[in-house]
Symmetry: D5
Subunit: 148 residues, 10 copies
């Protein structure tokens, strides 16, 4: 179902390279965050018309491609368990920290979950003498299990 969005993602990666653009540049053009903009271009988010417009302009996409950016994807093309080491490390965090997230979030908020829908994320470089670090900050709305 996502063939068009996947194919567009590949094309965007090429265009981005040719034009020496960074995700931050594309994001700045549409006044959105780089992570969300990247996820959109990788075919995992749906744009509002003005976002699609801005991206089409900066990258030189045609009308159909612009429309494709607005389509809601069938999410989750990532193979599981991930075979790529960079992505696998996040999977490993779920293996190792899953129960801790559960115990700590419930201690603080009670019975419920952290939303992965009403959710945002920030990715930064943290300079460090012993080697720079990747810093990821995420916030998700806490949703209480309804008792009815």
């Amino acid at each position: 179902m996502n063939d068009a969005k996947t194919e567009l993602g590949r094309k965007i990666l090429k265009l981005k390279k040719q034009k020496s653009l960074k995700w931050a540049d594309i994001a700045a053009r549409i006044t959105m965050s780089p992570v969300w903009t990247c996820a959109l271009c990788m075919g995992q988010m749906s744009a509002e018309p003005q976002h699609a417009r801005g991206i089409a302009e900066i990258l030189g996409l045609d009308e159909e491609e612009e429309a494709t950016l607005c389509e809601i994807p069938y999410r989750g093309a990532q193979p599981m368990p991930p075979t790529d080491p960079l992505i696998y490390r996040f999977y490993e965090l779920v293996l190792v920290y899953g129960t801790s997230w559960k115990e700590m979030i419930q201690e603080e908020f009670g019975d419920g979950i952290m939303s992965a829908i009403d959710y945002d994320m920030l990715l930064e470089r943290l300079p460090d003498q012993k080697g720079d670090r990747v810093k990821i900050t995420m916030t998700g709305k806490f949703l209480s299990y309804k008792r009815y």
Copy 2:
């Protein structure tokens, strides 16, 4: 191989409840972070003797249990895909954001990964009028793929 650490984890959850302690209380006693302390108690980390000492004192563990805290676990008891909704949401983030993490980290750092070993995490409550949010901040050392 982890039977002792798993069993101890269950006991700690009970003791913690009986004594009305929070992870932050236990962590404060050993001057470590709450997330790491929780992961240690859930059987996913290994303590140094002084940490085990402090936890044994605050919870009232015996010597063998104290030693068990110091043992290095066979990590990753979490079933995959997670059946629990709270934990599943993190798995879903890997499905949805996996490729974006890869593209963004590589754009910034080049070919390599974010370490899940030289890694730390902070979990906070973010007050929000539309509903409080879970905030997770993680940093992991960037490791470059060696070319040899």
Copy 3:
């Protein structure tokens, strides 16, 4: 992690039978819905103290069992795909109607999901000359994908 809740579930099924109680009877005692009450007793929900109190009284549970009802479960003990034909039929609905739910909900609400957390359900018997029907009514809060 759920051993206590699973074991309690079995005991409750026996007590319920011995006392000739229906889920509606137990639910009425705590002024909650039968579906939620049943899910709670089957170890998939967490009770507030007054609910646990009422159930303990009507079924004759001891204090520890009452506390067990209040514990937050590691949800999702159901084997997948379900081997039991009654439960499998619901799994089959996901196979057959999954894409239709996606297209229809998105047409109406835009990009997002129906919450399975802020969610309730009603189960009724619908008399029908050609054979009575099971009627299930569920509502879940629509959550919009955050664009950030």
Copy 4:
């Protein structure tokens, strides 16, 4: 086996968008329900000639496509577990509520199942101050296990 129906489904989604039609519009044309009409167009149901006729007219399909709507599909193209979050939430309901459905349906009807074949469904928007809700009403004929 379903290539033709899957391909037709994609084409219908495009035509529907171009013509600014809603599932309810298409359904009204053939006097059927929107959910069934959507499931038919997504390649999961088989039409009777008059339904195919109506849909072909409103969308502008050719004869072969009209015939394709009447073909009985090999059902169940949905990947399991679903990778798309909207569809996954229904899968999660089976994980969490599977045993409750079993206990409650059997309490009321005895040994048997709710049919997923003699089955219908209604999908509505439920206005709610705290956020509108998706409301799904389904009925399925109860089928008793034959004792012979």
Copy 5:
């Protein structure tokens, strides 16, 4: 959930051997078919009180075991794919004949399924000079897919 029914099944196999009974003997006692009676004893069906009574008498079961026969099982303990060659052959029939069953049943009855709930089966020995044959006769109610 089926521990009691599984354990009872093992005991019945032993008692049946000690008493040199055949499934036909047990079935005759309760005026039911041998296949259903065997499936009941193997923990896959639920008895009505009079059936449980008869089986308890002929085998010498106690009251609790008699009640266990009446309980509705969580069906489907059979590992899949079956590792036992006798059972695997039936699985192989699904692999080889699945599409033929679909085409032939639909040709005759239209869009729908053969019920596995309103279903019965007969197992016989068919004498044959080239080697006796197992003869299985099954009938299941045809259920039409509802169009709504």
Copy 6:
């Protein structure tokens, strides 16, 4: 390896529809049973030359297609577990009746299996006031486990 047989199967389904033939019509032409003829056309059996001849004549196949009917297939293209509800019901029968088949066949014949190779099947419509039934009669040669 079966691409040619699979493709031919699709073509035969179309031709059969265009010519308004039933499996029984095609089978009658080659004096074979409808089930076997259908399984052959679906690419799961190999024809003898005279069968291929007859089918080619009635359907209008060319020489290469006729030869394809005679090829021995790599059997078992059916996905497992089956996603199509009609086919799944047979899989469910293995889940529910697997152990009963084993106990009953062994009681009657001793240690061995029912052959799925020296095997035949008949599919009929059984008129019934409460709804017509699918009737399947199968016989398979019993094969004793060799003791050597």
Copy 7:
């Protein structure tokens, strides 16, 4: 279902070691082949009374254990893919030679299979200067696919 046969297998391995017996010794006592005798003791075959008698005498088994040898097993306890290297090599042969077995057996015998039920096997040491070899000779009755 095979707990008794599995446990007996372990006991036989111990007794065989204590008594310094070889499979050939046990097999000679009952005038059967060593492979079948070993498979019987490992819980994968069923004995006739005289075989069970002989094995009980040579190993010193009690009456219940003797009866256990006669029981028909639920075969196939071997995990797949095999984790043990010795057993895995046979699995690898299926991976590598599967299609060759199919083409060669069908070339010689036509459409059918080699029976794994009417089957026997011999295992020998083949002296060889470059290192002794394991020699396995197996014969299985060819079974033709029935055309009906």
Copy 8:
């Protein structure tokens, strides 16, 4: 990686049929065994130049195809568990006899395995009044586990 070898295998099966050749004929031409020759043509072995030469001549292959025969394959295209009944029976032998092979080979040779690399196989027809049998003789070098 094996696309060329797989495609060549299909072509060889066709040519072999057109020229009415048997594996034994092709094998005789290159003075190798029929099983190895068949495995080579099915894309699971690598030829030495003179073997490829002979096969190219007898079947009429071009130079590139001849070279393809010499390439070392990525072995093991066979789906597991095998869906084809003929191949599945060998898989079943691993399920049923796996532990017996282990116990018997180790009794005779000590700790080690039978090589599946320094391995050969012979496939014959064994005439038998009760139905001819497939006879397979295999020898594999015994390799001792190194203790170091």
Copy 9:
């Protein structure tokens, strides 16, 4: 995502053969190790411009192919468990030695892992009278689990 790198890998294998080059030859040209050079060409590593330059020159690649060598791959195309016997043996080493690696590395270094990123490998032929040996030497930086 790796289609271009995989396709290039196939082309390089052909060119390397045509030009009678060894991995060591290609590696020498860019002053890198043969293992890394091979992994790069097989699509599992990313080159720096000068490496891509050298490989393009020695093999005669065009500019786009040269750029493809510099792209960071989505790693891990290898099917698991490996079906190829050569690759499977390494998988088997993980099965057999996994726990030993864990115990020995932790004994020497404490809690942590051997990096598979800051990692290098050397592959040599070790002459040996009883048959030459493959010698693999690998070093990976030890990474301590952070306690925070």
Copy 10:
């Protein structure tokens, strides 16, 4: 089948800790390598009597435990994919380097494999200013695929 060896492994880990022994100490006592000695104690190898003797003496094992060390294990208890990060990294090496090992070993040795049976391994600490490294050296006999 390995219960005794697994249980003994756990006991040895405790005894080794109590006696402050290193694998090198135990290995020195029996004049074997530390890796093999560790693998033996972890239940993955079989000892010769003198090795078992030495280990029993240094650790204080009883006669039955000494005999258990000599038993040949059913190898491969390691879960796959490994959940423990240290062990997973080796699995990842197979994912990333599998095809390179294949191409490089075959370039040097022709068609065959590196034995995992006639195999040895050395594990060392490699001091390094940027962080010490784990160094693993392994050699395995090359085995040529037999052409017959």
